[in-house]
């Protein structure tokens, strides 16, 4: 039970309950403004009936390397600690997939996740994502923690959309395809 609506720039004045969480980065103004000025239809929030923000997603759409395939990308997806385990991440992502498919005619949606974050990986797998490749030292800035390599490497996970009926964006050996960060 929550209001799903577009992310507005003045939500930045009210996202503290989400962004004070240790895993959520607060970027400079330019980051949020760039997303809103370019992909406003890929940025949404979930809000409680009281107006309190519960979580948000920010995404973009573009081409992958030299390929001609458009695809959607989940850049930031975050839910305030007190609103977790309510399925909010799923409904935010579902809408993003719908828009990436219908408006941006993307072939797939992808996202990056820390290899050690099993809870999130399970959740994304439940939503139809699978590991496409492993990116070395993607989160390197945080340094190697207790979990070693898994803490700084990222999985690039993909979910095919309607333009990829033969599921080219799925491969079973994705976890073994290791690339360096571009």
């Amino acid at each position: 039970m929550s209001v799903l609506r577009p992310l507005h720039v003045d939500d930045l004045f009210r996202f503290n309950n989400i962004n004070l969480d240790v895993w959520t980065e607060t970027y400079d103004l330019g980051f949020y403004l760039q997303y809103l000025a370019t992909w406003p239809d890929l940025c949404y929030v979930q809000a409680a009936p009281s107006g309190r923000l519960m979580g948000y997603v920010m995404g973009n759409a573009g081409r992958e390397g030299t390929s001609s395939d458009w695809h959607g990308h989940v850049t930031a997806l975050t839910i305030a600690p007190e609103y977790r385990r309510l399925g909010l991440a799923r409904s935010l992502t579902t809408l993003l997939e719908l828009v990436a498919d219908a408006v941006y005619t993307g072939a797939f949606v992808d996202l990056f996740v820390r290899c050690q974050n099993q809870v999130a990986i399970d959740m994304y797998e439940g939503m139809g994502y699978s590991v496409w490749r492993r990116i070395r030292e993607y989160y390197g800035s945080l340094g190697r923690g207790r979990e070693g390599r898994d803490e700084e490497d990222a999985f690039d996970m993909r979910k095919p959309l309607s333009r990829d009926p033969s599921r080219h964006s799925v491969r079973s050996n994705g976890r073994d395809v290791i690339v360096d960060q571009a």
Partner: protein, 939 residues
């Protein structure tokens, strides 16, 4: 040449402004008229803060009316750096006039006008651009500029309609249909909504394209929903919503509200229904209830929308007296709690409904919740349910008494400690499921402190939260609360540590820095050289610089990328940061801090005066986030935020206005800059005067303080205000007499500029030197000086009173109040220095025949310094008694409630050490800083 210019650019990119300046000067030696080099030189100078020198180069380039792309681009940066946005507009207007075929220049002119919010000019330019360049997007630029103009507060309602009609005409005449992209479509809908053109909106929205846009665009769907509802189509909207819920599994809460609105629609329109209508209403209610019940059953624990919609439906049914079941509401609430009681948000979900329970339902509700508390906490689901039950019970507490509140504090603490086991396996980055019990206990201790006025209960709150933070390192809610508590306890360095641990950055500074900076001059040790708070002020103000640089840039990008839905919001966002209340609160607080550290000079006074006056003319936006502080206090009690405000007083517009007036008045008296001089010397654009009071002459405003403003001041701040007013009233005639005339001030400024830059000051025509205006800073007056009268006795008395106040509060365990009184006394002394600065100059005194005045100033100065001397010595002495084993013992003994609940004694002792050490440091530092100030002021 190209290579040399490349080198200048490289130097600028690397931030080596010195190199850039040298390279430019080298080029200019050979080619003194090279426009681009001159521009880059101006840029390097601006970036090295050499404003006067930059100005002359900048003005030369402007005068030559540049059209070269590189020059124009660099000039944008130069003029922005100088705060001269309006000159950017005229520069592009000129360039565009010279090369009318350039689409790029026209675009820049349009965007520059948008930047200064001159929407009318922008609208005209966009209109011309469409005619000339035949691009469809310029129609939309034209349309949006008209809408932006219509939305300005200064636009009359008639004009607003006219502008929207113009926008409508333009958009319907556009050769391409609006639905080629969602943002154009959105803009069209906004116009139709404003003009109430429902049929046209309906045609658009019900077309296939319209439907598919709304399906994928939340923004368009939002406007669509508004339009539907504004036309009373609740029934239809309800059906659409129901279809979305049942067929597409949409669980957006707004859809559920639409279904409820449709069900209870006619109730409001017909307050006295006949029998048939009553039956109809009851049938609708039953039907909706059935729909939601079925959905809730199907969704189970997967989604809580339908279950909560049932609660909302019963609430409204009760409100309209439609329900036949008197216990309908409590039944669905219980059901909701049973299903979702183990979700952290359950308390917040049910909170709005609790206050509606009455009669028998209340004890029943309490008993029901109680059954979730009297349980053994076997797993984290039971724990979360227990926490929700505790919060809901506490929220509904009918009265607060000491014994009951103490019992609750003990229970929360014990349950907290018992439940820690359920989070023991979690990684250090995770929050503990039991955290909120610790916050509940702390909230309880805060209430007991308020009831008993005994500070030891705050020790318990602090020590327990510190303990909980060792278990849950990322619990920012606890840190926020600790920041508040430590400030109340007079342990500012402990507060600062927690504030910093939260790593507040970027836009969060605007919304959260109030936790640290509000009235922080009380704790600032700047007088003894510790610039911590000054640094925090600077850091938290960086966001306003980024806003000025970035937001405008992205407004332009949104135009070129045709994301029209974002533009009005970006413009408002930029204003909200630019005119942020917190921004000016920080500015004033920083000024109060800096005055204790920087020598008081006429330069400082002149600079600050201009800023202060700008702030006074502003209408401020309050973006501060107070809701972030968890509030689990009973609804009959004040919120945690209100309970933990320093000195129990909020700091807002009233406080800011009062302090701005106090400072402006004193600085204006001390300054030689009157309005005509300021106008000539001002470099950047004058900011918008958005405050409604800006129309009242400043002089009148400065003399009056409104009751609604003064309620935000503490008693001691009110005394300080009275002192400042008395001082200013007394000295006003002497300042006005002795202030040199504008011509003399300008001549002096011109001389300084000439000496600095070798160029004359632009726009200042010096009067011929015929002997009437000497340039030594003084001039002969025709009239006699005002007779010197003795100062009001209140002035010296103020310092005696403050000394007595200090004596009265210094024994309080928390040094916060003593520091408050001490800092205001010190501030009063500094004000005296500001107000008497002019009369320290012997030649000015002599020329103005005000020798008698200096004699009258002496006794006040003596009283001020004596008071400071006593207070300073007293603070240093107090510091000696802090941080001792004895003080730590008092703290630890006070913590017996939590120690008895099994919080380790040694742990509490460490917290005691932290608090008392911090007190010692601030008392000692403040006392010594004061002593230093006395020495420098006695000179």
């Amino acid at each position: 040449m190209e290579r040399q210019i490349r080198a200048v650019y490289d130097a600028l990119d690397n931030g080596s402004n010195k190199t850039a300046i040298a390279a430019c000067q080298k080029i200019l030696k050979k080619q003194p008229k090279h426009e681009l080099t001159k521009t880059l030189l101006a840029l390097a100078l601006v970036r090295s803060q050499k404003v006067e020198e930059a100005l002359s180069h900048c003005d030369e380039v402007l005068a030559a009316k540049p059209t070269n792309d590189a020059v124009l681009t660099a000039m944008i940066h130069v003029l922005r750096g100088l705060g001269r946005q309006k000159d950017i507009v005229s520069m592009f207007e000129e360039a565009s006039k010279q090369i009318p075929d350039s689409e790029e220049l026209a675009t820049q002119t349009f965007l520059a006008n948008i930047r200064v919010q001159n929407f009318k000019a922008a609208q005209q330019i966009a209109g011309r651009m469409h005619k000339q360049f035949q691009e469809d997007r310029y129609i939309y630029w034209h349309v949006l500029s008209a809408i932006l103009q219509a939305s300005e507060p200064s636009t009359s309602s008639d004009m607003r309609v006219l502008l929207f009609k113009l926008a409508h005409r333009l958009i319907t005449a556009s050769p391409t249909p609006p639905y080629v992209n969602a943002d154009r479509f959105h803009l069209h809908l906004v116009i139709l909504r404003e003009l109430g053109l429902f049929d046209e909106a309906r045609t658009l929205l019900e077309s296939e394209v319209g439907k598919s846009i709304c399906a994928a665009s939340l923004a368009c769907n939002e406007v669509r929903r508004d339009i539907w509802r504004a036309h009373g189509l609740f029934e239809e909207e309800g059906q659409k919503a129901e279809a979305r819920i049942t067929q597409q599994n949409d669980r957006n809460w707004l859809e559920f509200l639409s279904v409820i609105d449709a069900a209870l629609l006619q109730v409001e329109s017909k307050p006295e229904p006949d029998e048939a209508e009553k039956a109809d209403r009851s049938a609708r209610l039953t039907k909706t209830r059935q729909l939601f019940t079925k959905l809730a059953e199907d969704d189970g624990l997967k989604d809580r929308s339908a279950a909560l919609a049932l609660v909302e439906l019963e609430k409204r049914a009760n409100f309209y007296d439609l329900s036949s079941d008197p216990h309908g509401l409590i039944d669905v609430m219980k059901h909701y709690f049973e299903l979702f009681g183990d979700k952290a948000c359950c308390f917040e979900d049910l909170k709005p409904y609790v206050s509606l329970l009455e009669g028998d339902d209340l004890p029943q509700w309490t008993a029901f919740l109680q059954s979730s508390i009297d349980v053994s906490i076997d797993n984290s689901n039971v724990l979360r349910k227990l926490i929700n039950a505790q919060k809901l019970l506490r929220y509904n507490t009918p009265e607060l008494t000491l014994p009951e509140e103490s019992a609750r504090a003990t229970q929360y603490t014990q349950q907290y400690l018992e439940s820690l086991i359920h989070g023991s396996g979690l990684p250090a980055t995770e929050l503990q499921p039991a955290d909120d019990l610790a916050i509940l206990a702390a909230s309880s201790f805060i209430s007991i402190w308020q009831l008993s006025n005994d500070e030891k209960h705050l020790y318990n709150a602090a020590a327990l939260l510190e303990f909980a933070l060792t278990k849950s390192k990322q619990a920012f809610q606890m840190r926020l609360l600790l920041v508040r508590i430590y400030r109340l306890l007079g342990a500012p360095s402990a507060a600062l540590d927690h504030y910093r641990a939260m790593q507040i950055k970027q836009v969060q500074h605007d919304t959260l820095s109030h936790f640290l900076i509000s009235r922080s001059s009380t704790f600032s040790l700047a007088a003894s050289g510790d610039l911590t708070y000054h640094t925090e002020c600077i850091e938290s103000s960086q966001i306003y610089i980024s806003n000025l640089q970035d937001t405008g840039e992205y407004i332009a990008r949104a135009f070129t990328g045709e994301k029209y839905s974002q533009i009005p919001e970006f413009i408002l966002f930029e204003d909200r940061l630019e005119y942020s209340l917190q921004r000016d609160l920080v500015k004033v607080e920083d000024l109060r801090i800096r005055l204790t550290h920087e020598p008081i000079s006429s330069d400082l006074i002149d600079m600050e005066l201009i800023e202060l006056k700008f702030s006074l003319d502003r209408l401020h936006y309050d973006n501060r986030d107070f809701d972030i502080l968890a509030n689990y206090q009973p609804r009959i009690s004040a919120s945690t935020n209100d309970q933990t405000l320093l000195f129990g007083k909020p700091e807002g517009r009233g406080w800011l206005t009062t302090f701005l007036k106090i400072y402006t008045r004193a600085f204006q008296q001390a300054s030689d800059l009157d309005d005509t001089v300021e106008e000539k010397l001002l470099i950047g654009d004058r900011p918008k005067q958005s405050s409604p009071d800006a129309k009242i002459p400043l002089k009148d405003r400065l003399h009056h303080h409104l009751e609604k403003d003064l309620v935000e001041l503490t008693t001691d701040e009110l005394s300080f205000l009275k002192y400042c007013s008395t001082l200013a009233d007394w000295l006003e005639p002497y300042h006005d007499y002795a202030r040199p005339p504008p011509a003399v001030v300008l001549a002096e400024a011109a001389k300084l500029t000439q000496a600095k830059t070798g160029q004359p000051l632009k726009g200042v025509d010096l009067p011929p030197k015929n002997g009437t205006a000497a340039t030594n800073g003084s001039s002969k007056k025709d009239e006699e000086p005002p007779a010197v009268v003795a100062p009001p006795t209140d002035l010296a008395q103020f310092f005696d009173d403050m000394k007595a106040r200090f004596e009265a509060v210094k024994a309080e365990p928390s040094p916060t109040m003593a520091l408050h009184v001490a800092s205001l006394t010190q501030e009063a002394c500094l004000f005296f220095l500001v107000e008497s600065l002019r009369f320290k100059n012997p030649s000015a005194v002599k020329t103005n025949k005000l020798g008698a005045l200096t004699q009258q100033l002496k006794p006040i100065r003596t009283a001020a310094l004596n008071a400071l001397r006593d207070i300073s010595a007293s603070l240093i002495k107090l510091a000696e008694t802090e941080g001792t084993a004895e003080r730590r013992k008092i703290f630890v003994d006070g913590c017996s409630p939590i120690i008895n609940s099994n919080i380790d004694h040694d742990f509490v002792l460490n917290v005691a050490k932290k608090v008392t050490d911090s007190r010692k440091k601030v008392l000692d530092g403040y006392g010594k800083g004061m002593a230093r100030l006395i020495t420098t002021s006695s000179k």
